[in-house]
Every structure is written in C-alpha cells, then in structure tokens.
C-alpha cells in the first residue's frame, strides 16, 4: 500500500514536470533555434543545433543596439522605481500620521485612480506634454512613471504604516528629532517588507512596458529594450535566426534576477494581487 502510494505520487510529480516541459516548449524552441542559421531553422526547427554558434547573438547585439537599449532601460527602471518607492513611503506616512482633510481627499483620489487604465490617459497626456515640448526625454518618462506608480505605492505603504505603533516616533520627537529625521531613521527601516513587494511589481512593470515609452521616447538613441526589440523585428522580419537571439538576450537580464530572487518575486506578486 505504502509503496503503491509512493509510486502514484511519483507519477503525479513526473507528469507535472512533463506538463511544465510542454508549457515551456516555446522558450526552449526559441533558445534551440537561436544557435542555428536561418536556413537550418527553416529546414528543421525541431532538431537540436549541431554546433553552439554565437554569431546570431553577436549580430543581434549590434543590429538592435542592445547595449543602448539595455542602458536606457536600466536607467529608467532603476531611477523610476527608486523614486516611486521613496516618495510613496513619505506620502503614505503623511497620510497616516496627519489626518487633515486635504490628505483624506488626496488619498481617496489616488485609490480611485487605480481603477483608471492607461488607455484613458494616454491621448490627453501626449497632447499636453507634446504641446509643452516635453516629449522625447527620459526625464519626462521618469516623471510619468512616478505619477502612475505613486497611487499603488502610497496605498501599500499606507496599509503597512497604519500598523506601526506611534510610540516609537513619539519618543524620538520628545528627544527633539525632526519629522524628516524621525521618518528616515525610525519609520523607513521598518518598511522593508513593503519595499520588496513594490520593487518586484514596479521593476516588472517598467522594465517590460512598451506603450508609454513608445509614445514618449521618439528618437532612436532614447529607446528602451522593448522599443528596440520592436524596431529590430519590424525591420529585419525575414532573418529569423538573429531575431530569436535578440529575443533571448532581452529575456536573460530578468531571468537571471528571477533565478536569484524567485522567492521574493513570488511573494511580491501574491501580496500585490491580494491587496
């Protein structure tokens, strides 16, 4: 009986791994074929590559300006996420500890705005910022990510800060610490769990975002990685081998981070969704 059960559970686990393998076949096929020539890919897309050839990677790296896209994405994602987290934490703190009417109204507006899809804002946004001549700079894009990222950030910090006892801050105030200093030295270190959640969600969102940067960043040297992938594909759409190498290269940075931080990422996603 025991032995039977063990075999049964082994079979179940085995079939789950098979299912996962089938599920990830699209990735595997693209990886496999990224090492072949386009001709070999057309002739036998399912065979394993006979040689490991990085020529496609070199050609994709050059033709899609990988380094430039990568650096642009890195700068935009890094700074936006950092700014969103710091300012949301501060505003969340303000809304929890100072029960002014204006704060309540603003908090309500932020909550309500979370239901608004980007689609409703993009046309007037392009119109307004275009008229002011502010399009096509990274700074505008950073500012927009701050504006879009703040509501969820404030909401998340608000919920967490509510649970922090006020006594800690009170004793700091009595000792003459300023609000700003109290916040940074006492409150901020307690918010670590929220940082992780927001970091994960905001990095995945901004790193992979296409529509907003496609409307804001118009010149080639500003392009983020998703934008250069798009340009690369729309201009070389017959030469499949380097295209596949380009796709894999775009995936690798996030994949590497995922392998190291998978636990935190899964936790961040769960908490973000259940909020």
């Amino acid at each position: 009986m025991k032995g039977n059960q063990r075999i049964l559970s082994g079979l179940k686990t085995g079939s789950l791994y098979l299912l996962l393998l089938a599920f990830l076949t699209p990735f595997l096929l693209i990886i496999m074929n990224s090492f072949k020539t386009t001709q070999q890919f057309f002739e036998s897309p399912l065979s394993l590559p006979t040689t490991i050839n990085f020529k496609n990677y070199a050609s994709a790296f050059e033709n899609m300006d990988f380094m430039q896209g990568f650096m642009n994405s890195l700068i935009i994602t890094g700074i936006s996420v950092f700014v969103i987290i710091i300012f949301s934490a501060m505003t969340g703190y303000l809304f929890v500890r100072y029960k002014w009417k204006v704060n309540a109204i603003l908090f309500f507006l932020m909550l309500a705005s979370m239901a608004l899809p980007f689609q409703v804002l993009m046309i007037p946004m392009v119109m307004l910022y275009g008229n002011m001549g502010l399009l096509n700079t990274k700074l505008t894009l950073l500012f927009m990510y701050l504006g879009f990222g703040v509501p969820f950030g404030v909401f998340t910090f608000h919920g967490f800060i509510k649970g922090i006892p006020y006594e800690l801050e009170e004793s700091a105030f009595i000792e003459g610490s300023s609000t700003l200093r109290t916040f940074f030295s006492i409150v901020l270190p307690l918010l670590k769990p929220v940082f992780v959640t927001l970091l994960v969600l905001d990095v995945l969102w901004i790193w992979n975002d296409y529509l907003l940067p496609s409307l804001v960043l118009l010149s080639p040297d500003q392009k983020t990685l998703p934008l250069s992938t798009y340009t690369f594909f729309s201009s070389y759409s017959v030469d499949y081998a380097p295209l596949m190498a380009g796709l894999i290269m775009t995936i690798i940075p996030v994949l590497v981070i995922y392998l190291f931080l998978q636990k935190q990422i899964i936790k961040g996603i769960t908490e973000g969704a259940l909020k």
């Binding site: 501060m90 507006l109 998703p226």
Partner: protein, 293 residues
C-alpha cells in the same frame, strides 16, 4: 503660535507629499480632466483649432462600425482568454498545493512567462505560429497547421488567446495557490474521512472557500486582457486586413495615426466604461457565493 504651527504643517505637507502629489496631479488628474473635456471637442492636431461639439464624438463612436466590431472581437477574445487562463491556473495551482516534491521549482517554472513583456512574448509566438507550426503541418500532413495561423482571422483570434493565456496562467496560479493555502486542513481531512471523492471536495469545499481568490483572478484577467496592446502589436499587428485589432490597438491608431484625438479619447472612455461595468458586475455576482470557513 498658531501661525507658526500651520507654517510647519505646510512644510511637512510639501516635503512629504509634494513630489508625489505633484506628479500624480500632473500625470493622472489633469490628463483625466482634459481627456473628458477632449471628448466634447473637435480638436485638430495640425491646426490646433478646437470647439465644443457636445456628444458628437460619442455618437461617432457608436456609428463607427469598425470600432464596434472590434469591440465585439475584443469581448470574445476576453471571454475565452479569461475562461481558459483561469481553468488552467486553477487546476495547476491545485496540483501544486499538495506539498509534493519539487513544488517550489514547478511554481517557479510556470511563472516564467510573466517575466517577459508583451512585445517579446508576441514575437516569440509569432515565430512559432508563422514558422514552426506550418513546418510541422507540412511535414506530418496536419491540415490545421499547414498555413500560418496568423494569416486567417479565425485562427489568428485563437493565436492571440493562446499567447495571452499562456502568460496569464502563471500569474493567476500564484493567486490561486495563496487562496488554497487558506483552506483549513481539518475541513479537507474531515471530508476525506467522510468518504468524499476528489470531485466532491473541489466542488463542495475548495470552490466555495476560494471565492475571494477567484474574484481577484477573474478581475485581473478581465482587465488585463481587455487592455491588451503589446501582444496584439507584436503577434498579429492587427492583421490580416485589420481584422484582429483589439480595442486598444484601434484607439492608438485612431489617435496617433489618424490624428482623431477627440474620437479616440471618446472610444477610450467607452472602453473603460465597458471594462468597469463587466469587472464590477462579476465581483458583485461572485461575492454572493462566498462562504466563511
């Protein structure tokens, strides 16, 4: 004294709230209001002329047969994507919450498509649908795959659904797993002692107790698929002959290629209203089924 205090308060407000409230107002609030105003004008991008025309743009939206048929196409796409993604996610999550070996790795694996943005994901599937599947179809004589799925409206519709659902499954799975871990073990044990079968346990215990997770998952999959743009752009580019343009794709074209900002914005507002009504109705209806454990 009082003056000093209010000065200090203003300072606190500006330091702690200033940057985020300014960005929020400039990026969300003002564009939202301008956007609503825009739907009542015939603003022209090239000349900058604008005058109020009442509900003209909205009438235009409902007279625009192309937009209406694309909205209908979007609705069908959303329906199938939501159902398929949720059914798969539900059962995969169920299989991955028994405490078996290697569950962490399996969860990690099923989640991977979510690391990839819609553009990359769309091109990945485009390569498969346009090259690999036709190769298989011709080699083994499978009629279904002999021509690329992306060259025909009916099959391109399914290609879009498969690519979107493929990504959503892993995301929803994570939420379902969180929901299942909340089902108390003693209830499940009691049921199995009473001789309840696997099906009865799912139907009578797990489903009612995980209604909150189901509501969230349907809500997320609904709003995500209603607003799909990147996958649409990379996978089918709206083709063949603009027959697979989802609502967002249409709005982007209308506004930024045909320069009809007012009508485009009115369409965006209509799309938002449709999403909001459907998403809220499902939450309301499903929440009635909720059971406290």
């Amino acid at each position: 004294m009082n003056k000093k205090l209010s000065l200090k308060n203003t300072g606190t407000f500006l330091v702690f709230g200033g940057p985020s409230i300014f960005a929020f107002t400039a990026v969300v609030i003002i564009p939202f209001i301008v956007g609503l105003y825009l739907t009542f004008t015939n603003w022209d991008v090239r000349t900058g002329d604008s005058s109020l025309i009442g509900f003209g743009n909205y009438l235009e939206v409902f007279r625009d047969k192309v937009f209406l048929s694309q909205l209908w196409f979007t609705l069908k796409y959303v329906l199938f994507t939501v159902v398929i993604a949720n059914v798969f996610a539900f059962f995969i999550a169920l299989a991955l919450t028994r405490g078996g070996k290697g569950e962490q790795w399996l969860r990690t694996g099923f989640f991977t498509p979510n690391l990839v943005g819609g553009i990359v994901l769309g091109y990945l599937w485009q390569t498969l649908f346009s090259q690999v599947l036709p190769y298989l179809g011709n080699k083994y004589g499978w009629d279904l795959f002999q021509t690329s799925w992306l060259t025909d409206t009916g099959t391109a519709f399914w290609a879009l659904i498969i690519a979107t659902a493929w990504q959503l499954v892993g995301y929803l799975m994570i939420i379902y797993i969180a929901g299942f871990t909340g089902v108390p073990g003693d209830v499940l044990e009691a049921a199995s002692i009473d001789g309840a079968g696997r099906y009865a346990v799912i139907r009578r215990i797990i489903l009612p107790l995980t209604v909150p997770a189901i509501v969230i998952c349907i809500f997320i999959s609904l709003s995500r698929s209603f607003l799909t743009y990147d996958i649409n752009l990379a996978l089918t580019k709206g083709g063949p002959f603009n027959s697979t343009e989802l609502a967002t794709y249409h709005i982007v074209q209308k506004a930024f290629l045909s320069n009809q900002y007012g009508v485009g914005q009115a369409e965006a507002v209509v799309l938002f209203a449709v999403v909001a009504i459907i998403a809220l109705t499902q939450s309301y209806l499903l929440k009635k089924l909720e059971v406290e454990s």
